[in-house]
Structure formats: C-alpha cells, structure tokens
Subunit: 226 residues, 2 copies
DNA sequence: CGACCATTTGATATGGATCAAGCGATGTGG
DNA sequence: CCACATCGCTTGATCCATATCAAATGGTCG
C-alpha cells in the first residue's frame, strides 16, 4: 500500500535543447515547443503534490504514474501516462497530484508560462489546452465509473484500456507493478493477482510472464466491461 | 439502484429572454450571456448521454445530478450541480453524462456555439472555458479519492462538501435523496442511512429531518476526511 | 384515513481485505 | 558457479465491512 521510496528529485534544469520535431497531430503539437528532454530513473519523482506547477511534461518513452496519498498511506493512482501523453498541466499554480516515473522514462519539459502565453495569443493553442484538460476529465470520469464495479470488471476494464494504449496487436507488456495496478483500481495486490489468474483460467487472457498480457478472448473481457 | 422515471424532456426552446444580469465574478460571467431561462420539474431530464451537446447550462435555482448508468442499471452520479454552477459544457459534440433536475430547478441555457465563438475571439473567455473544465477535473479527482475510502469517510466527506456548497452557517437542507447520495458515494441507501445514524449517535451531526443536516462537531468529520 | 414513497433498522450473506505462506526470478557475494 | 538473500508475485485460510434481503416506521398527499 505504500508508495515506493523516492529517488533523486531534480528540478528540470538538465540539458536544454530545442525540442524534437513536434508531431503535428499531437495535442501539444500546435505549440512551438522549446524545452528540455529529461531522463528519470525508475521510481524517481517528477513532481510532488502542492509543488509549484512551473512545467508541463510530455512522455517520450517509459511510463508515469500520477497519484495522491492519504494521511494513513493509502495511495490512489489517478492516471498512468504513456508515450505521447501530456501531463502536469494545471490551471492553478500548484500540482494537485504527485508524479513518478514507473520505469526508466524520458520526458519533454516545457515551461508552463510559455504555454499560457501562447494560449493568450493564439486561440487554437487555447483550445488545445482546454482539450488536454477535457481529455483528462473524461478519463477521470471513466475511472470513477471503474471504482463502482466488481474486481473482475475493474481488472477487465484495465486490461482493455492498456491494450488500447500500448498493444501492438493482441499482446502487450505492462510497465507497472501489481501494486500500481491495485492502487489504480482501488483493490489489493492479492485481489488483482487472483483476478488475473481467474481470467487466465477462464481463457480470457494468458500470462506468459507476470507483466506480459496476451488477450485471448477479447469479447469475454468486453462482456465484463459494461 | 435504478434511476427515477424520466419525465417530459423538452428541447431548450422555451421563453427566449435576455439573460439576467450576469454576475461578474462567476465563470461564465465574462461571457455576454444571451440565453433562455428554463424550468425543469423534479426528476425531469435536462439532457441524455450521447445526445448532441448544443447548449451549456447554469443552475439558477434548484439542483441537478449528472450521471451514467451501466447496462445492468447501476447508476454512478458524477456530480451534483447547485445554484451558480455551470454544467453540460463539452469539448466534443455529445454529452458524456445524462443530467436531471433533482428538485424543481431553473437553469440558464446558452448555445454552445455562442460560447465557443466568443472563446475564439477573446482569450479570457477561452481561459474561462478551460477553467470550468479544470474545476470539473479537480472535483472528479476528489471524487475518485472518495471512492477508495470507507463508508464513514465517504459520508463525512460528502457532508463536508455539501456544507461548504450550501450551508448558511452550520445547518443545511439536502436537495437529494438517499439513493442519490448512495449513487454518488458508491454505497447502498442502507449503508448511507446507517452511517448517518452512526454519525448522529456519535454526536457529529444531528438530523432534525431526514434531509436536514446540522453539523454538530465539524472537527470529528474533518478527522474522518483525511 | 389510507396509499405511497422515502427512510430507518434488523438479520444474514458475501466479495474482497487481511494475514500468512510459498514460489520463481534476479542479483550478489563467497 | 553456486548458495543465498531479496523482491515481486501467487495462492491459501480466515475475517470483516458492506451488500442484500426483509420488515417496520414515518412523512406526504389525495
């Protein structure tokens, strides 16, 4: 239930570079991105809750978890961010969640003020900012819906979500641990593990390795997913 | 667990009027609001999930619930909207939730295109749109955090939220039923009712009527709320 | 007054949490 | 290269918070 120990937390001041060519279909693509590419170790904190939100981030490679911790140590993971995802964008001046790299991760870091200034001048940039937040809102609502479902339904929904976001074909490699999945789904590791075993037993998936998922019967998962 | 029967659903075409003087500190206040004031009966549908999102709404009086229903009838209430709150604003062209009046309710209805056009021309309007969505996102994240807590903690958090949003002093009247509260908190009516009784027994609140709440020991509730 | 609906309260059932081993992969030092 | 510690995961046994089922109570409106 406890978050992993934090490793080095560095302010985003590493090698300042001209950003890699922005992909134009991406949501931050409309911005003229000048930022730093930063690497983070496994479990390294990218920012903490209530810290000043001076930067906006985009995952280049790896995976990020965004979470909150209650006084007694319970951790709720609000979102996983995967390559291409933008995160850390806030309306206010402080981050509302903490963010950590799940695996070795590189992110593109852009000053928030650059983005806000651009939005003031160009309406399509403003619309992109709105769009990013609206997408997060939809994901959050979807996530809320998850949390009223049974363990089987939650795990099935999680697998389908991950399959859409990182599957090439029918199989994929999970970047996150069982504990991360549990804290995302509001379950314990034991229940996540048991449920995956059940799904394997029911021939809905197979688990050639603990983090490797093969979808064997997607319609069975779909049936569990509303 | 079932949503109440829907009553008449009318498209927003009633008495078209110049909007009442917009309150300037309000988030839609920056817009030059021209819209219709529309009344809705108790339990009347304002819009349904997947319907075209042609209008944006602002509660003038009454209360609104925004919810999703799963195939098997489980209902998740995403948000309650109270006087002053704006709702129904979507980035896409369709509503992602249904909305119903909880009590007799009047709302101000504004064409979405008016708002979007204004946002394209004026950056402070664009920022207001973003701000509205960001506020919803924060509430959604707060709500997600609720759903991993115990029944007592959920109910305490709910009471504190409602107290902030509609209390004059230390007491307030809930507009919504126990079923609505249950579907918001991911509990059953029985658990909600029992938990309220417990809190009354513990002298944290008193319940002079089933929908009237008096906060008797706010710090006791705060202690339950992270 | 009587019907209806919302709410409370009581008795029992159950899904997932908790407690407790065991297991397999990975890495480290001898 | 192997013994052994560590870590992430799985599996088993038991417990408990909340759901479910059932009934009583109370408030509202005709």
């Amino acid at each position: 239930m406890l978050a992993p120990v934090q490793e080095a937390r560095r302010p985003p001041e590493t090698r300042h570079v001209r950003a890699a060519p922005p992909t134009c279909h991406s949501l931050l693509g409309a911005l003229d991105l000048t930022g730093a590419v930063m690497p983070f170790d496994r479990n390294a904190e990218i920012y903490g809750e209530n810290e000043p939100a001076d930067y906006v981030y985009k995952v280049i490679s790896g995976a990020v978890r965004s979470y909150k911790v209650l006084h007694d140590g319970r951790r709720q993971i609000d979102a996983f961010y995967l390559p291409g995802d933008v995160f850390g964008l806030e309306l206010g001046d402080e981050h509302t969640c903490s963010a950590e790299a799940i695996t070795e991760t590189t992110v593109l870091v852009v000053r928030r003020t650059h983005v806000l200034d651009a939005a003031e001048r160009r309406s399509e940039v403003a619309r992109n900012l709105w769009s990013l937040t609206a997408r997060d809102l939809r994901r959050a609502q979807h996530h809320t819906l998850l949390l009223i479902k049974s363990a089987q339904e939650r795990v099935a929904a999680f697998l389908l979500e991950m399959s859409e976001r990182l599957a090439a074909g029918t199989a994929f490699e999970l970047p996150m641990s069982r504990q991360d999945i549990a804290d995302y789904l509001g379950l314990t590791i034991e229940t996540v593990s048991r449920t995956l075993s059940q799904l394997e037993g029911a021939a809905a998936i197979s688990l050639p390795a603990s983090r490797r998922i093969v979808l064997r019967d997607r319609s069975a998962l779909d049936r569990l997913n509303d």
